[in-house]
Structure formats: structure tokens, C-alpha cells
């Protein structure tokens, strides 16, 4: 029972990270049909923002010394800032370009951010001790669950709830939902394109910042590559969920996280190093079964 509970929390906590990452990508895809591969680099940017620029091996903590109630909003604003800035400086120029061009632009932007960080901080991973108290285990029904896992799950649920309330009950949320489904039609009905797109980028950047804070706390490291793996899984999750579908992205994020944790726990020990091969094998089967994803939008096939 305790082992099962441990796997359950592992799955939920990993799924939470994937879901937040996938949601960040799906929000932008919804309004711009852009798969933003720079999203992973926003995550790294937000983590390195907590350190003072230095190529020394030892990290000099800067913003990371701020109390949590100041640090969290500051990092969220930084995440929103870099994301909105990317939209204004780069993606706005490609609004009418084909999706492949936009995707390449996002790759290029990702490299620019990566090498900017490399220039300021060097390529060496740096240790960053952020809220070490949350690594302590918590006893739940006999199982010892790291407090950070519980916090990750709780934070994800709060973010998802907040996002649902925002999307459902605010004017901007309604505009974003309509634009995510059919941007051309929404624009024709008078929805302000720039506001909706910038709002989506800001939210997506905040999600990247939230993921960055969780990853940095979990791993205790700041690494220029830290967003890359998560970005890949998050992208796969948005495709499995159905590109453009926000609930689909969240669901598929949890699904892939759950699948990974289950396989890690229950595959024979010899097969565990190949866990990702089994996970992505399952993804291939899912896509053969539902090529347009689990939550396909009617409008994804038909646009004005």
C-alpha cells in the first residue's frame, strides 16, 4: 500500500511538471499556431535569474536570497517578461508566416537565450540551494512522501484552478478561449489580437517560471539544459492531448508523467533503463489510435 502511494505521488508530481510545461506550449499554439521551442529556455532563464552573473563554478545567489513571498512573484514576472518580449521582438514579425517558419524562429530564439545564459554563467551546472526545508519527507498513510512532491502537486492544482477561473470568468479568458479555437474568426468578431496574444505569452512565461522554480528546488541545480528535456516531453504531451486543446495538454501531461512513473516502478529492473523507449512506444500507439490527439478540436480541422 505504501509503495503504491509512493508511486501515486511520484506519478502526480512528475505529471504536474509535464502538465504545466504542456499548458505553456498549448496556450501559445492556440492563439498563434506556433510550437514555441524557446519555452524550455525560458525555464532555464528564470532559474538563472536567481543567480548573479558569473562564470565561476560556485553559484552566487542573488534574487534567490529573497524571501519566497517576494521571490516567487518576481520570477513569475520575469518569466512573463521574457515571453512577452519574445513575442514583441521576434514572433510578431512572423504572424503571417507558415508554422514551419515560426517554429524555426522559436528554435533560433531558444539558442539565443541559451548562449546568452552561457555567456553570463558558463555552461557548468551550478548548485542552487532553494528552500531545502521542502525536501523533508512527510508521512502520509505510512508512506514517506517528500514535502516538495506534495507542494508541486498542490501548486499545480492551484495554478490549474486559477487558470480555469481566469479562462471561464474573465473577459480576457473568454477572448483567449475563442482565439485559441479559431483565431481568424475571433479577430473577425472584434477580439483584439495583440492583447490576446500578449496575454497568452505572459501566461505561458509565468508557467515556465513556475516550472523553473519547481525544477530548481527539486534538483538543487541551475543548468542551461534544464528546460530542454521537459520541453520535449511537454511538446509530445500537447500533441498527444490534441494540439491547441488546453484540457488535452494538461491531461496528456499527467498521462505521460503517470506512465513514466508506473514503468519506473513496475518494469523489470533490467528493462528500467529503457523506460523512455516504452513510454514513447506507448505514445506512438496512442497517435496511431488518435492521430489528431485525444482532445481534438473540431475547429482544428476547419479554419476560416
Amino acid at each position: 500500500m505504501t509503495a503504491l502511494l509512493q508511486v501515486f505521488f511520484d506519478a502526480l508530481s512528475l505529471g504536474s511538471l509535464y502538465a504545466l510545461g504542456a499548458l505553456g506550449i498549448a496556450l501559445i499554439f492556440g492563439v498563434m499556431r506556433l510550437v514555441n521551442f524557446a519555452h524550455g529556455d525560458y525555464i532555464a532563464f528564470c532559474v538563472f535569474a536567481m543567480l548573479w552573473p558569473s562564470i565561476d563554478a560556485a553559484a552566487i545567489v542573488f534574487l534567490g536570497n529573497l524571501p519566497a513571498w517576494v521571490l516567487i512573484p518576481v520570477i513569475l514576472v520575469l518569466g512573463a517578461g521574457i515571453s512577452v518580449l519574445s513575442e514583441i521582438l521576434v514572433f510578431r514579425r512572423f504572424r503571417n508566416a507558415n508554422p514551419a517558419t515560426m517554429m524555426i524562429a522559436s528554435f533560433a530564439l531558444g539558442f539565443v537565450i541559451k548562449y546568452f545564459l552561457l555567456m553570463l554563467y558558463s555552461s557548468r551546472p551550478k548548485s542552487i540551494d532553494l528552500w531545502s526545508a521542502v525536501s523533508l519527507p512527510l508521512e502520509i498513510f505510512g508512506a514517506r512522501i517528500p514535502l516538495l512532491q506534495v507542494i508541486t502537486i498542490a501548486v499545480t492544482l492551484v495554478i490549474l484552478l486559477g487558470l480555469v477561473l481566469f479562462l471561464k470568468h474573465t473577459r480576457y479568458g473568454l477572448e483567449m478561449r475563442a482565439a485559441a479555437e479559431n483565431f481568424t474568426m475571433a479577430r473577425m468578431l472584434g477580439i483584439r489580437a495583440n492583447t490576446v496574444i500578449m496575454m497568452a505569452f505572459a501566461l505561458s512565461g509565468m508557467l515556465a517560471a513556475a516550472v523553473g522554480l519547481i525544477l530548481a528546488t527539486q534538483s538543487g541545480t541551475a543548468d542551461i539544459q534544464m528546460g530542454a528535456n521537459l520541453m520535449l516531453v511537454a511538446f509530445v504531451a500537447t500533441v498527444v492531448g490534441g494540439l491547441g486543446s488546453l484540457p488535452g495538454a494538461v491531461f496528456a501531461g499527467f498521462l505521460i508523467g503517470g506512465l513514466s512513473s508506473l514503468m519506473q516502478a513496475y518494469l523489470p529492473p533490467d528493462a528500467r533503463p529503457f523506460r523512455d523507449a516504452f513510454v514513447y512506444g506507448a505514445v506512438i500507439f496512442m497517435l496511431i489510435w488518435r492521430p489528431n490527439g485525444l482532445f481534438t478540436q473540431k475547429s482544428a480541422k476547419q479554419r476560416v
Binding site: L174, E175, A178, N182, M188, L189, G190, I191, V304
Partner: protein, 247 residues
């Protein structure tokens, strides 16, 4: 030409292939004007021209006397031209009420004002019971009525309906006729009705234009269209002569 949406000598070609050739047509305010023609006649291309989705190669589009042929769709919408599409094109994942509300928000209303306007419009159309339904799950005929309601939320001066009765039963089509009449008389909208159901067009329109291969081959009141040999030929070819009346 005041108080009308009109096309003057409009021509459109795709890769050298003529889709519309010197089409002249006027949609006066407060009246229902019909546009009929066989498949491929150019009806939807013409609606696209009147709503800014397609720029004409030649000719002018006049809105109450002002040339608007170069404007994009959202600017046409701001000037008071709304349309529906053959495939409803609602926001499928939003509720019917949200589909209406987002249109109000697009007009610059607050969320509360948009909600009030949306509820009033649902009531006016007679579809309040559908308010909370997800638009993507609606039956085809309800989807059409919702699409018309959403277009009316834009407070248009002119409303272009692209095959609104397709797939409707006789009873549903009769309801639609009543609704379109109210739009013209009560709201004062100029309505352009593009429709394959010729009986419906004849029963409701004050003036009808017939397109064939991109050209207007006939226009006039329903009685004239009904009696026209050219229209008969366009629809049925020589077989019409053998089989008698088609309209």
C-alpha cells in the same frame, strides 16, 4: 447608392479562371434579397467579396455609397456587414452563451454588458434553452440558428446568410423564414439570402438574382424569376424543357 450594400461590375478570377464576371447587385436595408444559382455558380465567392474575404479584381463594393471593396473582413464587420458560413463556424468548445458573449466583448462591451446582450439575443431568436449547451454538440439546424444569432450580436446593417436552410426540414425552414423576416422588418437589416431551397427564396425575397458560371443571368421579383426560361435552363439544362416546371 444610399442605404444599400451593393456590388458594381464585380469580377474575380482564380488563376485565370473566371469566378465572377461583372456582377452587379444591390441589397437594400430592411429587405431580403435572394441570390440563387447552381453549384459552382460563384455565390460563395460573391459573399466573400461583399465581406472582405476576397478582394475583387475589378469593380466596386459600396456600403451606403462608400467604396469598401479594399477593406479586410474585420473592418467590414466594424462598418456593419455580418455573415454566416455554410459550415456554422461557431466556437465549438464554447457554450452557445459564450459564443454570443464573446461577440459582445469584441464590440467593446464589458463581460456583464455582453452577457446581458447575449441573453436578450438568445431570447429574441427563441433559443434561450440552448444557452448552456456546447456549440460543437448542437444539431445542424440549431447550429444554423445560433450562427445567425451570433452574427446579429454584431448589430449589423447588412447580414449575409450563406445557405442557412441546408439540411432543414420543411417545418424548420418555415421557422427560419419567420426569423429572417423579423431580421429584415424588426431589426431593419438588409439581408442577402444565398440558398439552394428555391421555394424558400421565392417565398421571402423581394428581389432575386440568379448567378450562373459567375454571371448574373437574371434578376427581378420572384414572379419574374419563376417565369424565366434562362433560370430553368441554368438549373436543369434541356431536361427542364422536357419535364416542365421546376420552380
Amino acid at each position: 447608392m444610399g442605404n444599400a450594400l451593393s456590388a458594381q461590375q464585380v469580377s474575380v478570377a482564380f488563376d485565370g479562371l473566371k469566378a465572377l464576371s461583372n456582377v452587379t447587385l444591390s441589397v437594400p436595408r430592411g429587405e431580403v434579397t435572394g441570390l440563387i444559382g447552381p453549384n459552382g455558380a460563384g455565390k460563395t465567392t460573391f459573399v466573400n467579396v461583399l465581406t472582405g474575404f476576397q478582394q475583387p479584381d475589378h469593380g466596386r463594393v459600396l456600403l451606403d455609397g462608400e467604396d469598401v471593396g479594399h477593406l479586410k473582413p474585420h473592418l467590414m464587420r466594424r462598418r456593419g456587414i455580418a455573415r454566416t458560413f455554410q459550415s456554422g463556424r461557431l466556437f465549438a468548445e464554447l457554450s452557445v452563451l459564450d459564443n454570443f458573449e464573446v461577440t459582445g466583448v469584441g464590440l467593446g462591451l464589458s463581460r456583464r454588458e455582453a452577457a446581458e446582450k447575449a441573453e436578450a439575443m438568445l431570447d429574441w431568436i427563441g433559443i434561450s434553452s440552448l444557452a448552456e449547451r456546447t456549440a460543437g454538440g448542437l444539431p445542424y439546424t440549431d447550429e444554423r440558428r445560433v450562427a445567425i444569432g451570433r452574427a446579429l450580436m454584431l448589430e449589423p446593417k447588412y447580414l449575409l446568410l450563406d445557405e442557412p436552410a441546408a439540411g432543414m426540414s420543411a417545418e424548420e425552414a418555415a421557422d427560419l423564414v419567420r426569423l429572417i423576416r423579423r431580421i429584415a422588418t424588426d431589426v431593419g437589416c438588409g439581408v442577402l439570402l444565398i440558398e439552394h431551397n428555391i421555394g424558400l427564396v421565392l417565398s421571402i425575397c423581394s428581389h432575386i438574382h440568379v448567378l450562373d458560371s459567375g454571371e448574373v443571368i437574371e434578376d427581378g421579383p420572384p414572379s419574374a424569376i419563376k417565369a424565366s426560361e434562362r433560370v430553368r435552363h441554368a438549373y436543369m439544362g434541356t431536361q427542364a424543357d422536357a419535364e416542365g416546371e421546376i420552380l
